[in-house]
Amino acid sequence: MTTTTTRGVWGDGSPQERGVPGGRPPGPTQSEVAALIAEAPVPRPTLVKTFNAMMAREFRVLRRNAIATFTRAVMQPLLFVFVFAYVFPKIGGGFMLGGGGAAAAGAAAAGGVNFATILVPGLMASMLLMQGIMAVTFPLVMEFSWQRTIEDRALAPVPIRVLAIQKIVAGAVQSFIGAVIVFPIVLLVHAAGQAPHVHVTNWALFALILVFASLLTSSLGLLLGTIMDPRKMQMLFAVVLLPATMLGCVYYPWAALHNIRWLQIAILVNPMVYMSEGLRAVLTPVLPHMPMWAVMLALVGGTVVFGYLGTRTFTKRVLN
């Protein structure tokens, strides 16, 4: 009977191995190797089983990295609401520079509501985008570079596009969780008397918008992850994340831009706008917001377009 102590045969440099006098110690026995084949289970893969196993793998990783993921999701919105909804109101109305000015301007444009009210849907939307990209784009760029670990899952018995769709779904789940974590933070962190006027009348619609916004960001994440040059990853912040957020109606409602008409029209290409405005419509209906049909059209349409393009470029990158 072979035991683990006598099986120091793999050149690992373990002490017992270095002590082996002369000759080559035996490897695993013939019958053990033969059993690998004789006792091999018969695979019965189906598309659903494989898909579920891949999702299970994502959840395992998510659970393992729970603290890092949580921290990543919480820090940005927490600091934002802390500064804008707690620090600035405390500093006082006389402080009219920088963010304070912007806050006051935003509030004025929005018709007298406090900045926290504007921020709640905006920060949730920005969190969705951030999470979607972090959850899909970053790992994907890693998987495509250097060792091409993507080949591991590309060899699973499903079409490559199913793998792409699985990545979109897994990313959307992370995005969704990120937004749900953010919600209580942006709701609860504020100075006394500065509570945001959040009033959800239609929870189902709220959930629906979150779901589609999550799918949109992860589809975009997939597209970016397959077209980004890994050596230019830092460009992602400069060219995508920052403009999308700053010009995404996160810190001001879209309607308030009517004074800068060209900008109001130009930013309609930014998917972020519809996420912010959609959440504004369900969370803070007191503020002006885009009509729901426009929001839904953009979210669903954007998901379909980015999903289609992302799946195509993904397949092209995997199969060369």
Partner: protein, 323 residues
């Protein structure tokens, strides 16, 4: 061997040309292979010969630009999912899931192939035991040494009892001990009926393991057969090379009558060396030294290669084997 049915792998004029900004780069230029079920088949060639591209096409991850290929009777382009279900693949690079532990790498791969949780975990334990990784099961796969990672990759390719096991340079970069142990495992797997296609640029690896070998270079099969067949073909000759301190005069080999010696099939003289391919090597070396001194040349070095895959390669390509 008739048709596609009885064969584990078959290719017909398989081609791959990569498009690049500097024009088309042909990586594989029309390869015909037949690998019988249960065979241990070796694709032998130097780095850049087109071995990995060929394996890529057979394992559905590289799309052919011409010709056809079948694995386990299924067309690799028309039914990639069916093919993937029936193959196990060990790629050259370390494609272990870096986010998972050693055991999880095996368990999730099993589940991708439809095994239930319990079955997957039992299979993982069995494989870890045989591949000597049982005490590393909870380690993250990024913490493994090169040899351990390679073993895990092979174990992972075996979770679902593949019809064909593809191994792309499985022992490249491994220490000799680990290599020999892997050879042992591969031999037993083969003895148990596992069809294996292995690529390697190590002559001795192909010679030690493979029943059938295709020598491949620049995307083409130069010769195929058993090791003995290959040796009895072009390469059953001893290759004697003598290098001199100065360039060899044009008429030196002619004057020495080297080509007329019995058993000599070819004499090459180029620059500062003379190379003789012969079935009767006795005395040739001495003659080359004598011919050299007659022409006023001193010998710098001399090699005599007995018939081996290396001489086969040398004979087929006229070039020394570059690893």
């Amino acid at each position: 061997m008739t048709g596609v049915a009885g064969l584990a792998i078959r290719t017909e004029d398989l081609r791959k040309t990569y498009k690049s900004s500097r024009g088309d780069v042909p990586a594989v230029r029309g390869i015909d292979l037949s690998v019988g079920s249960g065979e241990f088949f070796g694709l032998l060639g130097p780095n850049g010969a087109g071995k990995s591209t060929t394996i890529g096409m057979l394992t559905t991850l590289v799309l052919p630009t011409g010709g056809r290929a079948w694995v386990a009777g299924l067309d690799v382009v028309a039914d990639p999912v069916g093919v993937k279900r029936r193959i196990g693949v060990v790629t050259q690079n370390n494609t272990l899931d870096m986010q998972l532990t050693v055991a999880e790498n095996l368990e999730f791969r099993s589940r991708f192939f439809g095994l239930g949780l319990r079955e997957a975990s039992r299979r993982a334990s069995q494989l870890l035991e045989v591949f000597g990784l049982a005490d590393r099961r909870k380690a993250m796969s990024t913490d493994l040494s090169g040899g351990q990672a390679k073993r895990l990759l092979i174990a992972r390719a075996l979770v679902h009892r593949p019809d064909v096991l593809f191994l792309d340079e499985p022992t490249a970069g491994l220490d000799p001990q680990t290599r020999v142990n892997l050879w042992d495992i591969l031999r037993v797997l083969h003895a148990e009926g596992q069809t294996i296609l292995l690529t390697t640029h190590y002559m001795e690896e192909a010679e030690a393991l493979c029943e059938q070998i295709a020598v491949i270079d620049h995307g083409e099969v130069l010769a195929a057969g058993t090791v003995n067949e290959l040796k009895e073909g072009a390469g059953a000759e001893t290759v004697i090379t003598v290098r001199y301190e100065d360039p060899v005069p044009d008429d030196m080999t002619e004057r020495a009558g080297l080509a007329d010696r019995p058993g000599v099939s070819k004499v090459e003289a180029d620059g500062d060396y003379v190379r003789v391919f012969t079935r009767e090597p006795e005395g040739v070396l001495g003659e080359l030294v004598t011919a050299g001194s007659a022409a006023g040349l001193t010998v710098r070095d001399a090699t005599q290669l007995k018939p081996s895959l290396e001489t086969v390669f040398l004979t087929l390509t006229g070039r020394e084997y570059r690893e």
